[in-house]
């Protein structure tokens, strides 16, 4: 779907997707969210399912616009943000 200047496309992979029962969320950029850490906090507050996910040994990783991201990576309207466990390919 086309990204608008205020929308956020969030993707979940592997066991995150299993636990949430969905692979993505589309929402408006929440007020006050400016980075990955802020988005994690907002998700936790909005849905208890995220509590266990983001507490899972702190091992859930993030990507913003298809690049690995840290807690301080900026999140803006129109971005694609993904959450997933450490990768196990190869």
């Amino acid at each position: 779907m086309p990204a608008s200047a205020t929308s956020l496309h969030i993707l979940y992979f592997a066991w995150l997707k299993d636990r949430l029962g969905r692979g993505e969320d589309n929402l408006d950029l929440p007020a006050g969210v400016v980075d990955v850490a802020g988005l994690r906090a907002w998700l936790r507050a909005s849905d208890p399912a995220f509590e266990g996910i983001f507490n899972a040994g702190g091992r859930v990783r993030a990507a913003v616009n298809q690049k690995f991201a840290g807690d301080g990576t900026p999140v803006r309207g129109g971005d694609e943000v993904a959450f997933f466990p450490p990768v196990t390919g190869g």
């Binding site: 993707l11 992979f13 592997a14 990507a63 997933f84 466990p85 196990t88 390919g89 190869g90």
Partner: protein, 153 residues
């Protein structure tokens, strides 16, 4: 020349090698990863299901391949990673590196497979004979293998 593919279909190793061999290379190294049965606990593993992050995966693999091409002065390289359900014994990943000299080709192959394991967004789920499933945990040894290349400058 860099060739990247993420696909469900099997790859044709002979054809991929032939495509790289005609570039004036003196050496061509490859690595093929295979779904391995009989784990530590003697589990009856039947298959892996490989999930990936479309778009980011291809971008991450291309980054690894371009870095290898520069660092090892390769004539070409190929990375094909399969996704979907792969039974025990099935090939998962093919890495090829062609260079004028043998050591560069071998080193580049090791470099690429180590980096793929930590830099490309794939996740493996194990499917057991009794129907049980489990997501594979990342291994610290993989991060160490990747870090080796940073130290080697």
């Amino acid at each position: 020349m860099i060739r990247i593919a993420v696909q469900e279909a099997p790859f044709d190793t002979g054809a991929e090698i032939a495509a790289l061999a005609g570039m004036g290379a003196g050496g061509l190294a490859s690595f093929i990863g295979i779904v391995r049965g009989g784990g530590e606990a003697g589990d009856a593993l039947r298959a892996l299901v490989l999930e990936h992050y479309p778009g980011m995966t291809e971008r991450a693999i291309a980054g690894v391949a371009e870095t290898a091409l520069q660092r090892f002065a390769l004539l070409g390289c190929t990375v094909i990673h399969r996704i979907g359900r792969l039974p025990v014994g099935a090939p998962i990943v093919l890495v090829l590196a062609a260079s004028r000299h043998r050591q560069a080709a071998l080193d580049a192959t090791g470099f690429m497979i180590d980096w793929l394991k930590t830099a490309a967004p794939f996740w493996k789920q194990e499917i057991f004979a009794d129907g049980r499933t489990a997501w594979v945990e990342a291994r610290p040894a993989d991060d160490e293998a990747t870090a080796r290349w940073a130290r080697a400058g």
